[in-house]
Symmetry: C2
Subunit: 248 residues, 2 copies
DNA sequence: CTCATTTTGTTCTCACGTTCACAAACTCCT
DNA sequence: AGGAGTTTGTGAACGTGAGAACAAAATGAG
C-alpha cells in the first residue's frame, strides 16, 4: 500500500463551507496545502542544518515524502519564490513558508490537563523550536497545583481566564479525560481562546470562528488495523494461529 | 469556521495507487470512510453505555459530528444494516463496524522509545478498551531496561525480533527521537511489522505493503497558527504589544 | 387494506485534490 | 550570441469526496 501522505489529520472542524470562493482572491491556500506546508518547513530546516543552500522541487519533494508536482503547486500558492533552471533558495523559501504559516513569531500555548499526556506535552521540546511557547499548565486537581513540570508550575484550572487575558493566548491544548473535554473547551472559548488542539477522544462542539483539531490515537490505530486485516487473514494476535505451524 | 471533522491525520503513506479499481469489487471502502468508522464506533459505544437501543442516522451523525447523508453513505459501504423507517440497532451496528475494522479481537502492539511520550502511551488506557494490547515496551537506553512501566518491563531494543516473532505483532509504535525513527522503522519492517504509527517528526520510507501513519503535534499546531493568523492580525504573542510588564 | 409518516440506501451533481504534461524562464557551455 | 539542458509554474484531465435530493422500504393509524 502506498498512498500520498497527507498530513491529514484531516481538515479543520467547522467552517460552513460558505465563502470558499468569497475570499479576497489570489490569497486563498487550499486546506490540503496548508497541512503540508509544515512538512516542507521541517525538510527545509533539516537542509539548512545540513548546509544545503539551494534545492530543486524534486529534492525537497523527496525529503517531504510527496510528489514533486504537488510540491510545486503547493508552493505556487505562496508566490513565485523559485528560479527556473535553478531551484529554490533554501533559507529564503523557509522564511516565506514560515511567514505564510505565521510562525516567524512565537505563539503562546496553554495546556489543560497535566496527567500522563499533559506531562509529556509539557516536556516536549518541539514546541519551542517550532514557534510555540507553553505559557501555562492548568489542571483541576488541587494535588497538582504548584508542582513544577518542565519548569512551569501547574496552576488551578480557574486561572484560565486570567492566563488567557494576561498572555494573549490564542491556542489551547486539551489533555483531560474525554468527559471533561467539552467543558474545558467551553471555558477556553469563553475566555477567548480561538484555536484548540484536542487530545481527548470526544467530539467537541464550538462556535463558528473557533478552530478545533483533534489528535486521536485510537482512531489512528484502528485505521491501521483495518488495513492490516485486509492484508491477509493473519490476525497476528493470538499465538495460536501461528503456533499452529507458521512463521508469519 | 466549522468544517466536517475528519480524522484526518491523513491517509496512509505510500501505496502506488495502482490497484484502486483492481479489488474484488463491492468490498472496497473509501479511505475517508475508513477514517470515520472509528468515530462512529466510539459514538455507538457511548450510546450503548447510555442504554440507547436504537438510533437514527441523524442522531448518530450528530454524535459523531458529521453530516447525516455522509454517515448513511459511509455505512452503506458495509452493507444494509439499518431498517427504513426505524433506524439502526446500536449494538448490531457497533458489532458490524468493529468487525469491518477488525477490532473484534485484540491486536498486539509494541511501543519503541519509552521516554516522555512512550511513558504516556504505555499508561494510556484507551489501548486496551479499543481492541489493542501493548505486549512490549522497547528502548535502546540500558538505564531503562527492566524498569516497570504500566505493568510491563522495558526491554532492550534488540529484543524486537524475538517479541515480534513470539507475539505476532503487526503494529508498532515509534516514540523515539526523530533521528532514530527511520532506523527503528527499518528494524521493525525487517522483523515483520507491517503497520507503523509514528510520533517522531520525520518522514519514514518503508517498502510497499507496510502502512505508516504519523501523528505530528507540531504540524497540528502550525495548521492552527495559520488559521489563527488569518483571523486577525493579533499575534497575541509577546506581552510587549499588550503590556511590557505582566505576570506570565 | 390503504394511506400517511418515517427513515434508509442510493443516485446525481458539484467541488476539491492529485497528477500529468508542457511552455516559459533561467543557466551554462561552446 | 546561440543552443542545449534544467527546472519552475500552471493548464488540463482525472479521480475522490461531500451534500442534496429522492425513491424504496418499513411502521403504524384508520
Ligand atoms: N496517555 C496517552 O498516551 C494518551 C494518548 C491519546 C489520548 N489520550 C487522551 O488524553 C487525555 C489525557 O490522558 P492522560 O493519560 O493524560 O489522562 P490522565 O488521567 O493521566 O490525566 C488527565 C488530567 O486531567 C485533569 N483533569 C480532569 N478533569 C479536568 C478538568 N475539568 N479541568 C482540568 N483538568 C482536568 C486530571 O486532574 C488529570 O491530571 C485523555 O482524554 C486520553 O484519552 C491520552
Ligand atoms: N513528548 C511529547 O509530548 C511529544 C509530542 C509529539 C511528538 N513527540 C515526538 O516523540 C518522540 C519522543 O518524544 P519524547 O519526548 O518521549 O522523547 P524522549 O527523549 O523523552 O524519549 C525518547 C526515548 O527513545 C529512546 N531511544 C532513542 N533512540 C532509540 C533507538 N534507536 N531505539 C530505541 N529507543 C531509542 C531513548 O532512550 C528515550 O527513552 C520524539 O520524536 C518527539 O519529537 C513527543
Amino acid at each position: 500500500m502506498n498512498a500520498p501522505t497527507s498530513a491529514e489529520g484531516g481538515p479543520i472542524e467547522s467552517t460552513p463551507v460558505g465563502d470558499v470562493t468569497a475570499r479576497v482572491a489570489g490569497r486563498e491556500i487550499p486546506e490540503a496545502t496548508v497541512a503540508r506546508l509544515p512538512v516542507y518547513l521541517r525538510a527545509l530546516h533539516a537542509m539548512l542544518e545540513h548546509g544545503t543552500v539551494t534545492c530543486s522541487s524534486e529534492e525537497l519533494a523527496v525529503a517531504a515524502g510527496v510528489n514533486s508536482a504537488k510540491l510545486r503547486k503547493d508552493l505556487s500558492y505562496l508566490g513565485s519564490y523559485g528560479t527556473r533552471g535553478v531551484g529554490y533558495d533554501v533559507d529564503y523559501l523557509r522564511y516565506q513558508i514560515a511567514r505564510e504559516i505565521g510562525v516567524t513569531q512565537d505563539w503562546a500555548v496553554i495546556i489543560v490537563g497535566i496527567g500522563n499526556l499533559g506531562h509529556a506535552l509539557a516536556n516536549y521540546s518541539g514546541f519551542r523550536t517550532r514557534g510555540f511557547r507553553v505559557v501555562a499548565l492548568l489542571d483541576a486537581d488541587p494535588a497538582l497545583h504548584g508542582r513544577q513540570v518542565a519548569g512551569l508550575p501547574v496552576r488551578p484550572f480557574d486561572d484560565l481566564e486570567t492566563v488567557v487575558r494576561d498572555s494573549g493566548v490564542a491556542i489551547g491544548v486539551i489533555a483531560t479525560p474525554a468527559l471533561a473535554a467539552q467543558d474545558v473547551a467551553d471555558r477556553m472559548v469563553a475566555a477567548g481562546v480561538t484555536s484548540i488542539l484536542n487530545f481527548a477522544p470526544s467530539v467537541l462542539s464550538v462556535p463558528a470562528g473557533v478552530d478545533v483539531r483533534k489528535v486521536d490515537l485510537s482512531i489512528e490505530l484502528q485505521i491501521l488495523a483495518y488495513h492490516e486485516q485486509r492484508k491477509g487473514p493473519q490476525p497476528a494476535d493470538d499465538a495460536a494461529s501461528r503456533l499452529a505451524g507458521e512463521a508469519s
